[in-house]
């Protein structure tokens, strides 16, 4: 990778690790995480509201907002960059309440999400949108673990290695985005 001064973090994340990084830090992630986007979030939150068991572990985990292209022969996954995060903003605070430690996506998020990060000790990472070919090379394993009928929107368990991200919002209310102020 090209990054200078990247911080290495191991997944799943402890609260201490999630809170050790600051908005604007370049971070390399190594370990397991889950993918989920619009349709999977609707289903997860519906299960939570119904008081039913979830198909994946949430506590301590990181969710990557990603719907990859199909894996060509000989590769674990196709192109796999982030999708725009704000569409998951209504769902994220509830998942953080249940112990979700971090999310990876692209773009700005609502004040509610930022407050949830601070309240529950979480972090929002930005992956570079449109860098799906490059990011795919940092994914070593991919398996569908829930909702295969959703195709690209299925929940996948990934193993990532030195996966490059930038801290968008940290657990102290800090932001890396232009035009936003730290939470007070």
């Amino acid at each position: 990778m090209t990054s200078v001064n990247a911080i290495d973090l191991t997944l799943p994340l402890t609260e201490e690790a999630a809170c050790s990084v600051r908005a604007g830090d370049v971070v390399h992630l190594t370990g397991p995480l889950y993918t989920a986007r619009d349709a999977a979030h609707q289903r997860l939150v519906a299960l939570i509201e119904a008081g039913e068991e979830l198909p994946i572990e949430i506590a301590g985990q990181v969710i990557y907002y990603c719907g990859p292209t199909p894996a060509p022969p000989g590769r674990p996954i196709g192109s796999a960059g982030p999708t725009t995060s704000y569409r998951m903003d209504d769902f994220a605070p509830e998942l953080h309440r249940l112990g979700l430690r971090g999310t990876i996506g692209k773009g700005n998020r609502s004040a509610h999400v930022r407050q949830a990060l601070r309240r529950y000790g979480g972090v929002y990472f930005v992956a570079v949108g449109g860098a799906g070919a490059l990011l795919a090379e940092h994914i070593t394993v991919a398996e569908v673990v829930a909702y295969p009928e959703l195709g690209p929107e299925a929940i996948r368990r990934l193993e990532v290695e030195q996966f490059p991200v930038i801290v968008g919002y940290d657990c102290r209310g800090g932001t890396a985005f232009v035009g936003e102020k730290p939470l007070t």
Binding site: T2, A39, K106, G130, G132, A133, G151, P152, V178
Partner: protein, 281 residues
């Protein structure tokens, strides 16, 4: 009358679907390189470095540049001295999309019903096709897969004539500023100015087909493009919304006469993966 079998259009579309999603056009790569040289902020340079490396890795591995391989948008300029044979044109284009997206391991990103979103069409059809009848006996096929993240930040205004040039520039800059990092800046902005409600949107989309770095041949439109680019880059949004001087790589304006009461303005937002390809048959 020149005859062209629609099977040739199917083959052309299938090939363009695959290639356009993997090969970032040279004009876009050059614009990203120039942006990398301009930026001084560490994060802006990191983002642009990753994008340039991504373009290289996609060509090397054959993986799509971006996982959002888009809705297939196809512009066809059909010479009026051409007789298309062998079948229906929309069906031929859809066959090409079906084949290209299947064989190219591209993502199928189209749901059948905008409200009941449970059924994916499964093959990325139907293509959004814009057909124009032109002089001559050639067929020009433009293929431009369009991702959802940037498309979602597009907008259309029916301004008052009094809002004029400054109102137009302000509307574009405000929209891009509010979109922040969501549409994957640095962007290419297609602007449709004038015409009618629907025509302004089509002009904006068509403006994205122009090669980057070539201003409008009309001097006052080229000046408007420069002023819009300056206004947008003055927002400081920067690559991925994380700050910098490059919020947009280019602004392309297409203009058309309009009603004395109207000032239609449309903005089609395109992310940096500005995939576009043209073939002349």
């Amino acid at each position: 009358m020149r005859e062209i079998d629609v099977g040739r259009i199917t083959d052309t579309v299938a090939d363009m679907a695959r290639r356009s999603n993997i090969e970032l056009p040279d004009d876009v790569v050059a614009a990203l390189r120039a942006a990398r040289e301009r930026e001084t902020l560490r994060i802006a340079r990191e983002v642009l470095d990753q994008l340039l490396l991504n373009a290289e890795r996609a060509r090397e591995t054959g993986l799509p540049l971006c996982q959002d391989t888009g809705v297939a948008v196809v512009f066809i300029d059909l010479g009026q001295d051409v007789h298309l044979t062998g079948g229906d044109l929309q069906a031929a284009v859809d066959d090409g999309v079906r084949r290209g997206y299947q064989e190219g391991y591209l993502r199928k990103s189209v749901v059948r019903d905008p409200l009941d979103r449970s059924t994916n069409t499964g093959d990325n059809t139907p293509a959004v096709m814009h057909l124009r009848l032109v002089a001559g006996d050639r067929v020009t096929v433009h293929f431009a897969p369009k991702g959802g993240g940037s498309e979602n930040m597009s907008a259309l205004w029916m301004l008052t004539p009094a809002q004029g040039r400054s109102g137009v520039v302000e509307a574009i800059a405000a929209q891009v500023g509010a979109a922040g990092g969501m549409p994957c800046p640095p962007l290419v902005l297609g602007v449709g100015l004038g015409g009618t409600f629907e025509m302004s949107a089509l002009l904006a989309k068509r403006a994205l087909l122009r090669p980057l770095g070539g201003p409008s041949p009309i001097p006052e439109v080229a000046a408007l493009e420069r002023d819009m680019l300056d206004a947008v880059n003055a927002t400081g949004v920067g690559p991925m919304g994380l700050g910098g001087v490059t919020t947009a790589l280019a602004v392309h304006v297409e203009r058309h006469p309009c009603h004395i009461a109207s000032l239609p303005l449309a903005l089609n937002v395109q992310c940096h993966a500005a995939r576009h390809m043209t073939v002349l048959l």
